[in-house]
Symmetry: C2
Subunit: 431 residues, 2 copies
Amino acid sequence: MLKAAICTIGDEILIGQVLDTNSQAISKSLESIGVRTETMLSVGDDTDEIISGLRSLLNKHDIVIATGGLGPTKDDITKKSLAAITGTKSWHIDEEQEKIIVSMLDKRGIAHTRDNLNQALVPDSSEVIINRCGMAPITVYRLNEELFANRPVLYSLPGVPHEAIGALPDITADIRRHFSLTDIYHKTIVTFGIPESIMSDMLSDWEEKLPEDMKLAYLPDTSIGLRLRLSIYGGKREEEEARINDEFAKLVPIIGDSIYGSGNDTLESVIGDLLRRSGKTLSAAESCTGGMISARITSVAGSSEYYLGSVTSYSNSVKQGVLGVNQETIECFGAVSEQCVKEMAEGVRRITGSDFSVATSGIAGPGGGVPGKPVGTVWIGISSPDRTIARKMVFTGDRKRNVISFASNALNLLRLEIEKYTSGNTSTINN
Amino acid sequence: MLKAAICTIGDEILIGQVLDTNSQAISKSLESIGVRTETMLSVGDDTDEIISGLRSLLNKHDIVIATGGLGPTKDDITKKSLAAITGTKSWHIDEEQEKIIVSMLDKRGIAHTRDNLNQALVPDSSEVIINRCGMAPITVYRLNEELFANRPVLYSLPGVPHEAIGALPDITADIRRHFSLTDIYHKTIVTFGIPESIMSDMLSDWEEKLPEDMKLAYLPDTSIGLRLRLSIYGGKREEEEARINDEFAKLVPIIGDSIYGSGNDTLESVIGDLLRRSGKTLSAAESCTGGMISARITSVAGSSEYYLGSVTSYSNSVKQGVLGVNQETIECFGAVSEQCVKEMAEGVRRITGSDFSVATSGIAGPGGGVPGKPVGTVWIGISSPDRTIARKMVFTGDRKRNVISFASNALNLLRLEIEKYTSGNTSTINN
C-alpha cells in the first residue's frame, strides 16, 4: 500500500487560532483511493522548520501533500523552502493561473499588485494544477532518486480550506495516473440507535463470515449515527458492488430498521427524501432542543418543499399560548412528560397544518434536574396522521452533548414513524 | 520561550475518520501560559511509529504532550512505547485512579474486567495526574539527561476530547511549577461587524503606538466575530491589567459599539447578560435561519430565565397563520422584505409576550435567488418596546456559511438594540 504524509504549514494552526480541517479532508480523500496516510505534521512559518519537516516526510513516504503558506505575504518563505528541497533554480509565470488571478482581482475591484501576480510564479521543475477556487497554483514535484531514493511525489496546496478541498479531485486523479493503484471499492450504510460496542457484538458472527477480501470499518458520529463501511481492494467494480450489497443485505434480519440509508445520507436528508416522495409535510415543537431540530431539518437544501416550520416553546407560556398545551397537563405531569410532549406534537401539527410533527421536552442541564427526572432526561413525541407516540430517553453528557443526543434521537424516531406510515419497511440499502 | 510539541496517536485520525480537535485545544492552552507549540504530529497505532515520532519530538522540544492510544484495547501498545522511550521496567496500580474506574463501571452497571482495571497500571518512573473525566490516568515523565540531553517533560493524555481538555488545567499548572515561566498577561475584547482586513486598517495608528512589550493578535471567528487580544510577557499582573485596559479604552472612539464584550463572551451570552440584568424577555421568528438563532440563544445555560421561545416560519402559511403576517405584505413585497420581517418580529413579540424579538427572512441558497434578491440576501428585523427596525445584508457564502452569517448578524443587531434600549452606550470593556 502506498504511504502518504500530510504537512500543514502555518503559525495560525500551531498557536491554536485555526483548527486544521484540511488534514482530515485530505486523508479521507486518500483513503478513498486506497492510499494510507501514515503521518500528519504541522509546522510554523519558518523556512528551516518547513525544509526539515518536509525532508523527513519525503524520505519515508511515497506521497507528501503540503498545504498552506502560499498567500501573497507568505509566498517567499514556502516557495524558498520548496526550491531548497527540490533543487529548483529557475522560475516562470504560469499564464493560465495568472489569468485567473487577474479575473479574480477585477471581479473584486482590487488593483493588480505585484504580490498578487507573483502568486502565479512557479518553479520550472514543477508541474502545475490550476487552482480555480483561488489565486495560488497547486504545484507537483516528482522527485528523482538523486534527491530522495524512494522517488516520492510532493504536492503543494493552498491552505484555505475550500481551495485545498477543491484541489483534491485533481490530486487523487494525478496519484491514480502516476502510481497505478489497486482499485478499491467502498460502500457505506448508515445506522442509528445501536451504540458501537453493542453493534460489534451483534455483528461478530456476520463479520467473521465476511469474505477475506472485505474489510469492515465502524465510523461513529453523534449526529449521523454509526456508519458501517465495507471495502474491497482490487477486482472489478460491478462485481464488487453486487457482492457488498449481498453482505449488507444479511444485516437486515440482525439490525433491522436501525439501518436508515447509505453513503452520505443523514437523518435529516433521509427524512426529507421520505417526505418528498410521499408528498407529506413536517413541523416541529422544541423545548430542550431549542431550535436544533429545526436547524438540522432546514440545513438540507430544498427543505422548504416539505418543512412548514416550528415553534420553540422554551417557556410554559408559549407551550400553552402558542401550542395549546393544557395548563392542567403541565401542573399535573410537568413540562417534561409524556402527556406534555404529545400535546406539543399535536399542537404544532394543528397550527401549522402539517402531516407529521416531532416534539421534545427535556432537561439539558447543567441545572433543572429533579428526583425521577435527572439532567439528561428527554421526552420525544411524534405525531403522524395515524397516531401520536412518545418515548423517554436519558443521556449523561454535558448540556451541549445532551442537546445533540436529544435532537438526533428525535429525528431518528421521526424517521421510523414516517417509514412506518408511508410504506412499512422500506429497504434503504440498495438506493 | 519554551518549545512544545503535540503528538496525537491513533489510526482514526490518520484515516480521516476523526477530526483532531485536541491539538488545537492543547496549543491554545499552552499559548495562554506563554509556551509556543512548534510542532504537531499525528501517528498511527503502531509501536515503531509512536516510539520514533515521540523520540524525535523529545529531542527537539522542552515539552511533549501526547494524546490518545490509552483505551483498554490499545493500552499495551502506547504503554509499551512509553516504557521503551523512558526506559521503564516496573509498574504499579495507581489506587486513586483504580477507585475512579471501579466507581465509573459500577455506575454504568458494567462488570470490572481485567482490561478496564489495568488502565490504572502506571510505570513507577511516572508521576500520575488523576483523570476525573475518564478511566485512563494522565502520566508525566520527567526525562533525565542520559535519555535526552535537553531533559524534556512528556505528558501522556487520553485521546477522548473531553478527557484531554479536562486535563489541561492540571497540565498547565504542572508546567508552571516545573519550568518557572515568564508570567504572561492576556486580555481579549470581542467585536462584531468589522472584517479583519478593515479592522487592521482602522487600528493601524493605534497599533503603532502600542507600548513595545504589548503584542496584538487578531482572532476571527464566523459566529463570535473578531477578537482582539493584547499580551504582555513578564511584569506584575495588577499593573498589566490596568495598562491593557487603558489601551483598549482608546479603541472605543475608533471602533465604538462593534466592541461587545471580553474574554469568552459570545453574542448569545452577552445578549443573555443584558436581558437578565434588565429583567427583559426575548423571542425569535426565523425563516432562512431555520432555528439556528434559537439554538444559539438556548445554548447558554440558564437562557430559560429570559428566552420565551420562537417560531420558525419556514412556509408562508406559518408566517401568516402563526405570526400574523399580512397576506398582502407577502403578495406585494415578498417574504424576503423589510415589511415582512418587521411583521414577523412584531408578530412573535405579540404571541409570546416578549419585550424584544429578532426575525430573519432571506435566501440561503443554493436555489431561490431572484433579480434584486440574489442568494445570500437577508432581511433582519428587531422589535423592542420602543420601535421595530429592519436591515438588509447580502453575503456570498454557500448555504451553510450564509445561514451562520445571517444568524450572527441578526444576533449582533439584536445586541445593539437591547444595549440602546437598556442604557445607551454600556461600556463592556471592563467587565
